[in-house]
Symmetry: C2
Subunit: 192 residues, 2 copies
């Protein structure tokens, strides 16, 4: 049996430093920020960065893991509570999430059919939450009959993209309008 060794202390330290610097860099310059710059600021050679994260996606994925987990908890809560504006809350939360690093939404959208990364899994799970929220809302008569989970995915992706390139307000407005468009055709007493 492979009685594996304890991981090296310096390795763990470098890993943490890289994550911290990457987070700062991605927040400031978007997901395309220079990896060499990140390594340099982490006080580590470029090869070390690649040792820990074979590619950019892996690095982004590692950074997103915790954040994603929180999002899923919110999703589960919303599904359980069945609040009328659950869908609204969800869409805005995901949009906000996807806007933390510039270019993140595009990166995710581009690589959806990619190799099995944790990013991929997370995307699927997010889609699933959207699907469930739509199903509930539709049963409650709050949505038009042809509304789908894909509509929610589309909307959040679009809003996240706008969040980066136009203003947060524009993204918010688009969400409001599209959700209004998802309402049943012959009006009901939805808010606003």
């Amino acid at each position: 049996m492979t009685t594996s060794r304890r991981p090296r202390a310096d390795a763990r330290r470098n890993y943490e430093r890289l994550l911290a610097e990457a987070d700062a860099a991605f927040r400031g310059g978007g997901v395309t920020a220079s990896l060499e710059g990140i390594a340099r600021r982490a006080g580590v050679a470029i090869g070390t960065l690649y040792g820990h994260f074979p590619n950019r996606r892996t690095l982004v994925g590692a950074l997103l893991r915790d954040r994603n987990e929180q999002l899923f908890q919110l999703g589960d809560r919303l599904i359980a509570q069945q609040s009328p504006d659950a869908l609204d809350t969800w869409v805005r939360a995901v949009t906000e999430h996807a806007a933390t690093y510039g270019g993140l939404a595009v990166m995710l959208a581009d690589g959806l059919d990619d190799e099995a990364s944790e990013l991929h899994a997370s995307c699927l799970r997010m889609a699933d939450v959207g699907e469930q929220l739509v199903a509930h809302a539709r049963k409650a008569g709050a949505l038009r009959l042809d509304a789908t989970g894909a509509d929610v995915t589309t909307l959040t992706t679009a809003a996240a993209s706008l969040h980066e390139h136009l203003s947060p307000d524009a993204a918010d407005r688009l969400i409001t309008l599209t959700l209004a468009g998802l309402a049943p055709r012959h009006s009901s007493e939805r808010h606003m």
Copy 2:
């Protein structure tokens, strides 16, 4: 007074070749396609490309000029005709337009406050068309009272972005939903 010379024939030829190659490259690889590759395929040194087009934006702008003109003609026609689905037609046309080169929508959105380029002017004019269409539709009672031209701009930008990163269908769906959301709150006899 400066009796200026006739422009050199080779210069004009190179200009045309560069445009042709750039169009092909941008269609295939998006607006970030390699400029050196374009120059090479045009049978011209990289310096020549930069001689004609000091930066990427200029090159894209030159390619878009004709296309934009056509779009504006459509816009004028739509405004004149006052057809009920003018807004719908317009949004879809602009979206289609912005999707010819991958990344175009982002490029335009990023550089709206940039130096005075013809791109900038075109964007303003497009916004203006949207504004007018909204005004007409609202007077006709086809739109909710708080609808603005900015909403149209937002929508087209978002749809164009989706067109690239997800599917054309997704973009189309978003347009449909958002336009539905722009309808008056207490239903009328809109199509679909």
